[in-house]
């Protein structure tokens, strides 16, 4: 069949499909509810066949480009990702995320060791040699820490600012750190190792110094509430970065490309879970941890409960039963 005849036969249905797709881009819901939406998959496949014919018969670009354009537009509509559902988010947080963390338990264990060992080491060293604080932190930093956790403060854990301001600050700061520790893991895991180790030294150092100078009371009362969510999220984000770097180093029985894509999907889900944990941590830190008036029993009791909750969630979540996910 000659090209002109082919175009004359079909150009009206091409125009119709094109018009429908254009309308879809402008008014999505209304266009999808029309009856003509039901015909779309069939018409699209017809168009694909016509494009294949046009290419096979060597028709001019004028025709093939025109068809190709409609096909691309239709492909985007037919194969668009499913709309997100809140139910799936809940299932992921309750079951999928803990399962994923457990499936990567080697990286998580390594990340926990990389963070907690330097932290504990610094904590102990500071008791033994308090002068060490001067070499790790500058004197302005030390003065800042001491001001934040001065037992005379009415609000602990901060020198100024309201709950809302600190909530914004914690979200921006902590989540950015977690995301960066995941992403920098792509450098063969070095970035994640550095972020975990540096934060371990920093946090252990502050804790050790404040305990050594006798400000331990306010400090531990402040951090115990949100520590479970915050440190857990940091370790998980770092572990996600380690996992990404290790996949690059040793992809196993796969080519590096597909192995990296799979690791990236796992890592992104872990990072999103860590993000949710950090939101909870920031909320607790801004609105609960800063209340100084509560008795020790409540503070440490709630903190311990949080640790039990977080560890129990990560350990048992999504186990048993095949519901939902």
């Amino acid at each position: 069949m000659k090209q002109e005849r082919f175009v004359a036969m079909h150009s009206r249905e091409w125009d119709r499909l094109q018009a429908w797709l254009n309308a879809l881009e402008r008014r999505r819901g209304q266009t999808l509810r029309q009856d003509s939406a039901l015909d779309f998959p069939r018409e699209y496949r017809r168009l694909c066949q016509q494009l294949a014919l046009a290419r096979g018969r060597g028709y001019s670009h004028e025709v093939t480009e025109r068809l190709q354009r409609i096909v691309q537009q239709g492909h985007r509509v037919l194969y668009r990702p499913p709309a997100p559902r809140w139910h799936r988010v809940a299932v992921f947080l309750l079951a999928g995320f803990p399962q994923l963390v457990r499936s990567q338990w080697r990286c998580m264990l390594a990340a926990a060791a990389l963070f907690f060992l330097p932290a504990l080491l610094m904590l102990v060293l500071m008791q033994w040699k308090p002068d060490l604080a001067q070499t790790v932190f500058s004197s302005e930093q030390l003065a800042g820490f001491e001001k934040m956790y001065d037992p005379a403060n009415e609000h602990i854990g901060r020198s100024s600012g309201t709950d809302m301001q600190m909530f914004g600050y914690y979200v921006l700061n902590n989540v950015s750190i977690a995301f960066r520790s995941f992403a920098s893991g792509l450098f063969f895991g070095v970035g994640a190792v550095y972020v975990l180790g540096a934060n371990g030294v920093l946090i252990g150092g502050v804790a050790g110094h404040l305990t050594a100078i006798g400000y331990g009371g306010p400090f531990w009362r402040f951090v115990v509430g949100h520590s479970a969510f915050e440190l857990g999220a940091l370790v998980i984000a770092g572990g996600a970065g380690l996992q990404l770097g290790l996949t690059l180093l040793a992809p196993g029985r796969q080519r590096r490309g597909p192995a990296l894509v799979a690791a990236g999907w796992i890592g992104a889900q872990l990072a999103l879970g860590a993000f949710a944990m950090l939101l909870v941590a920031a909320f607790i830190e801004a609105y609960w941890s800063s209340i100084a008036a509560l008795p020790d029993v409540v503070k440490f009791g709630s903190g311990g409960l949080m640790w039990v909750l977080v560890l129990g969630w990560l350990w048992r979540g999504g186990r048993g039963g095949t519901h939902g996910a």
């Binding site: 194969y79 921006l172 970035g191 894509v261 992104a268």
Partner: protein, 226 residues
């Protein structure tokens, strides 16, 4: 042929031809996005500053959203285009040409942290230059690519002249080559047109301008014009 076109076979059995976008338009799109976000933040600061220190916290939350959530939400909800990409006619798609989904978009935007190192996208630039489909590291790990969404420049009409039947039957690919010559003749200099047409002297039986006109007439016959 050296080309930036990536062909992807769809379930319908045809090849989608995606044109990969290089570093320059993508950098421009990123600049537009950056300026837009800075302006948005500045505008939002005005009412927020009236709220005092609490407004400070809200401003930081807003900054967080602009930093991390803006590209992901835009890409997923606006068919693979942030506002800057829309201005430049770019689009993010999955490796199979379908619109980018949530997780791949999250991966490619989180790994921007790596591509942006050191300083001004050096890793990303090198990566787009090396990769055949101009993907940065984040795109490779996410399994996505950035393509030109706009249409090809027009002006490929075959000039209409009275049709002239071909003296012999040509195979399909040779017919296609003739059609392509007629389509692209307008972009070539007259001498180049004649030089190409002279190669077919055994077919046309004439040279130079007459040969070009004869070939275009043959193509009109091939396309089925009268």
């Amino acid at each position: 042929m050296i080309d930036t076109i990536r062909e992807i076979e769809t379930p319908e059995g045809i090849a989608l031809r995606l044109r990969a976008a290089g570093a320059l338009p993508r950098a421009q799109a990123w600049m537009i996005d950056l300026i837009l976000r800075v302006v948005l933040l500045c505008v939002a600061m005005v009412p927020l500053s009236l709220l005092g220190v609490a407004g400070n916290g809200l401003a930081m939350l807003f900054m967080f959203a602009l930093m991390w959530a803006y590209p992901v939400v835009c890409e997923v909800c606006m068919a693979g285009q942030t506002l800057g990409k829309r201005a430049l006619g770019l689009r993010v798609v999955n490796a199979d040409g379908s619109p980018v989904a949530w997780l791949p978009s999250v991966v490619r935007n989180l790994l921007r942290v790596v591509d942006i190192l050191p300083g001004v996208y050096a890793v990303g630039l090198v990566c787009t230059l090396v990769d055949p489909h101009a993907r940065r590291l984040g795109d490779i790990v996410a399994g996505t690519m950035v393509i030109h969404a706009g249409e090809l420049p027009a002006g490929q009409q075959v000039p209409e002249v009275p049709a002239l039947p071909l003296p012999l039957v040509l195979p399909v690919d040779e017919q296609a080559a003739l059609v392509e010559f007629a389509e692209r003749a307008g972009q070539l200099s007259v001498h180049r047109q004649e030089e190409l047409a002279n190669l077919l002297e055994p077919l046309t039986g004439c040279r130079d301008g007459a040969a070009v006109r004869r070939l275009v007439a043959h193509v009109n016959w091939l396309l089925g014009r009268s």
